[in-house]
Amino acid sequence: MTLAPQRSHGSGTGTAGTEEPTVLPSGAASRPDTRGAQPWVMAAAVAVAVAGAALGFNGVLRGWAWYSPVFSTVLSVAFSLAVLRSLRARPWLVTAGGLLTLIVAVTFIFFRQHSIAGFIPSPETMNYLGKFLRRASETVLAESTPVAPNAGIVMLICAVLGLLVILIDALAFPLALPATSGMGILAILVVPAMVKPQSVGVLGFVGAAVGYLLILGCSHWYTPDTRTLADTARNPGQLRRGAVTAVAALTLTLVLQLVIPGFDQGTFPQGSRLNPFGGATGLNPMISLGTSLRSPSGEGRITFATNAPTTPYLRSVTVDNFDGDSWSPDDRESSRQPGTGRIEAGHEAAPAEIRVLTAVNTGQYTSPYLPAPYAPEAVNGLSGRWSWDPATLSIKGVDTNSRDQQYVVSSVTPQLTAALLAGASGPVRGVPEQFLREPSNVPEVVRSTANTVTAGANSPYARAMAIQRYLRSTEFSYSLQSPVQGGYDGNGLSVLADFLIQKSGYCIHFASAMAVMARLEGIPSRIAVGYAPGRPTGATVAVSGQGPLPEFEVDARDAHAWPELYFQGIGWVAFEPTPSRGVVPAYATDASAPSGASTNDRNDALTPGDGSTQAPFPIPVPVPVPGAGTAAPGGAQAAQVLYGVAAVLLLALLVASPRLVRSGVRRRRLRTADRGYPGATGGTALPAWAELRDLATDYGMAPGASETPRHFSERLRASEAMAEPGVADGPGQRAAAALTEDFEREQYGRPGGAAGPARNAGSAGSAGSDDLVDSAAARVALVQASLRANAGFLVRLRAAWLPPSVMSGWRRSLQLPRGILSRTAQRTRRGFAGSWGKIRNSVRRVRRR
């Protein structure tokens, strides 16, 4: 007999790590020493990171069509890097190869027709590349998001992302700075974060985060940092520490935004993007109007009740500077007047006016500007400080925004007629110059169109009517989609030119066309942005002094823009050049103007019919000073209360669930244990024993994994958790001893001999079994009572509501996916390494022949 073989191999329980010689450092035992799969795994991680972060571009680019070329480029570059690296090429060769692959991939995808053999760049390719780059830069400079995914911008994104793959790979792999590679991913995320109104978006963020974590994880797996290695091979505390850090960071983020003043309010409510409970939906003038209109859901619902004879437009802001590539509202902060109690237009008013009272509830609508019917005289019931612009009468929050505002607007609507307007032919005086200034670089097509259309009209009103008639003619069609397809979605003079050629667009195009053409014809003009009249809800709202008023609602789908033109002696007059939207005012209708056909079915239904625009209350009642109405709709508040209650219930359920789980487990165990417990047949002591262990765990006396049942039981019985010091034979202790003995007999004793008597009195704890109740449930109850009686208040509380036995089980199950992942990764790695080795061997064999 020899003692030479010291270890036994291969009876199956050894893992990969333990098969190494045990006299070697065992800390390194479970490290992988084969690196065959490393390039592949790392390249896959980088590809996931870049492709995932690129998901955030949805919204910068419209739709998803652009994603497939991007994905192909990223994949091919990552693949080439992996191939080169697994062939053990030098690092610079790997990077150069990646670049080459990127060039080939981009050429193949975008310049197939203009290159040699479809993938080798030629001088012709360079020409097209220049063209594409110009197109891309035009897109970046001129268009507002989301832009149509034209070939130029997509090619640019593909090229940049391909380069980033190479960069991130270089950082993470040869330079061994995996954490720094996050900068590359951040560079991708910055673009949507800055450009998109809704920031990066969940998809992009999750994709980038998953990819980054993969990169970190893979690098750590293959080149472990010795500083983070604790005394055990896989450092099991890491996940827990990570989770704690994440929870702390998240809590800090959520708490900080409550502490920082003005974080989620004010003019630019950046913070409200983080609001998880409700989407803040505003009407970003110009930029997102198209998005709002196309929104299928109708968010940003505003309800209002009015006594106006015709449902008014709600005007939020005006745009009067038409210079530049993109328009935005002009904020003349210096000339703004504080307070909304008394608003004065400051210019001549029409001879006849009616006063209108409107109670508005903005709900989730978030904007610095307040929607109000034109022309507001006073706004009451607002919270926060507001100011108004004498030139445009737009009302803007100083330190607040329009979210959750309930207010009553008293406004004056001039009684206009076509005859009155036609008479207003005097030269314009007293209007700020900015409303008259011609844009600096008006496209020729706009100017010529204006001249053609207004030829023959001699009064300002006639010219305005001519322009409106032209825009409402059958030549033009209303469409939300054609600007997108044509690449002129958005605003700006170049868009306007495109619109006049394509003759299809939506309100902003019609309104801006009319406004710009009016200025060219010498009529002061501006674009008003707000909401078309909307729909009656059928409800009525009581406004003080008014009785019940009919309620209307508008939402994002009613977002609208219309031109306002100034006539001397009358003031600003709204027109409606957009076919099939809004209501053409009576003064601006002429019998010959046909209504333009809409290409958008949905919006036909939204067009208010005659019924809704007819005033339900024909007699306008002048209201001197409206009080704060009771217009605050109870509905929203009730919903909030409901949400609150639901949240509290959910929280309570969450807190109670460990308790519920624990008591459920106990009930099930004791039911099993008591089935035939006193007899020897069929009963089982195991569930009662498990319950005893869990009870002890709950009260801070957790059994150790390597602790024998008897030792645990003795420790428990002797501990202060079970009895006062010195008491050795309490009922709880005897119950615990009996449970232990039953368990031992069943677990370790002779099968079928469970009922046999103990051999002698020396057997621990068996003496008490006579006078004890024979039911396991009763014994467990005795133990529990004893534990409860000796535990402090906090321990009792924890045992009842957050029992450690349940919580540790949850922690274990949280760690389970990690184990599965690592096992899968290991298997995949081996498979890859094996197959790759086979391939390499066969290639070598072929080469040798």
Partner: protein, 384 residues
């Protein structure tokens, strides 16, 4: 024995079988002649006999109840005992007392460097009268053989004794002589660092079921010893309290103690852990697993149980395993002892099955066991 194919069955005693085969005859005819014809004792008789022996020993040796119990455990488990300690702490006294309490033949061999193998086993001598060779029995022909200072004899003599221990027989001039049952060797030795000693090779140490260090008595015991043992040798008062037949019946009882599958798995886990530990150059042999289980059975019987608990295995593991393993150099230089390494290993083996974590599966704890055994103990220095 092929160490590469160790399984639960390999290390089971012949009479023991897995629970699924519990109904099989524990001693299949033809495989091995039954050693003990005596029937097993009942629980009360066993308890009274063991109490008598232990009481008798404890009257002689003060404050060494644990050592006395372990010695009895080894006797009942049919093993051999190695008492190792510095001179003068009562090694020989314990051995002698154990022999004296049992009404059986006791012989004592004082091992010296010039002791010959034939002194141990016996020798054939030519009888002038009968003109034949006749075999004169050596000192090993007794129920309890006390080998005093065993490491002072030459390796050759040691080997002769060790062969008897393993085979329970003596072969001289081609004739085999069976030894009496029960047969137990109680050897004492000084620690190997002492002068004039031939250390027992690993292979021979492996044949002793357990090694006990006596240790110095505590203050009270030492005082009491001075009081009572001044005049006469305490050994003189000891009389036999059990007969050899009773001991044989006790041994039979121990053999019938039940070992459940989870205990076997636990034992195997302990053994594997010693072999996979990074601190040991030599782990525990499969034979030692067998002896560990036997000793655990004897412990269980002494505790009055007819089944083995994990506690029984744990309580004897140190005594059974510590003298068989060899420390790695680094562990030794870090001040570890075989005992401390065994304790650290035991402290990491989960007691299967964990009814809370996995009520039915034993796969998870077993996997955990090997993983934990491979991981270094927090107490120990990093073996890198």
């Amino acid at each position: 024995m092929d160490y590469h194919r160790t399984s639960v069955d390999d290390i089971l005693p012949q009479g023991q079988s897995l629970p699924g085969r519990a109904s099989m005859d524990p001693n299949p005819a033809g495989q091995r002649p039954p050693r003990h014809e005596l029937p097993a004792m009942d629980a009360d008789a066993f308890h009274s006999a063991s109490t008598r022996i232990l009481t008798a020993i404890n009257t002689v040796i003060d404050g060494k109840a644990e050592a006395a119990k372990l010695a009895l455990t080894v006797l009942l488990a049919q093993g051999h005992l190695l008492l190792e300690d510095v001179p003068g702490v009562g090694k020989t006294l314990l051995a002698k007392t154990l022999g004296r309490t049992i009404d059986c033949s006791v012989s004592r061999i004082q091992f010296t460097p010039d002791l010959l193998p034939s002194d141990v086993t016996g020798v054939s001598i030519y009888n002038q009268a009968t003109r034949t060779f006749e075999f004169r029995h050596g000192a090993v022909f007794a129920n309890i053989v006390i080998g005093d200072e065993i490491n002072r004899a030459s390796a050759k003599t040691q080997s002769a004794l060790l062969e008897c221990m393993e085979e329970h027989q003596v072969t001289v001039d081609g004739t085999s002589y069976r030894l009496d049952e029960p047969f137990m060797v109680v050897a004492t030795q000084n620690p190997i660092e002492m002068e004039g000693t031939y250390p027992l090779p690993e292979a021979q140490r492996d044949r002793f079921m357990a090694r006990i260090s006596m240790g110095y008595p505590d203050r009270e015991s030492e005082m009491e010893m001075l009081e009572t043992h001044q005049a006469s040798s305490p050994l003189a008062r000891v009389t036999a309290v059990v007969t050899a037949a009773e001991v044989a019946a006790m041994i039979a009882t121990v053999q019938q103690v039940y070992v459940s599958r989870s205990i076997k798995e636990y034992t195997v886990a302990v053994g594997r852990a010693t072999r996979e530990s990074g601190y040991l150059r030599l782990g525990a042999s499969p034979r030692s697993m067998l002896q560990l289980l036997r000793a655990a059975k004897a412990t269980a019987a002494l505790e009055g149980r007819d089944f083995v608990l994990p506690d029984d295995v744990v309580s004897v593991a140190e005594a059974v395993l510590a003298h068989r393993i060899i420390l790695d150099r680094k562990a030794a230089s870090a001040g570890e002892t075989p005992q401390s390494v065994i304790r650290a290993i035991i402290a990491k083996i989960p007691v299967t099955p964990d009814v809370t974590a996995s009520p039915n599966g034993t796969g998870r704890p077993a996997r955990k066991a090997s993983a934990m055994a491979a991981a270094p103990s927090p107490k120990l220095p990093n073996p890198r």
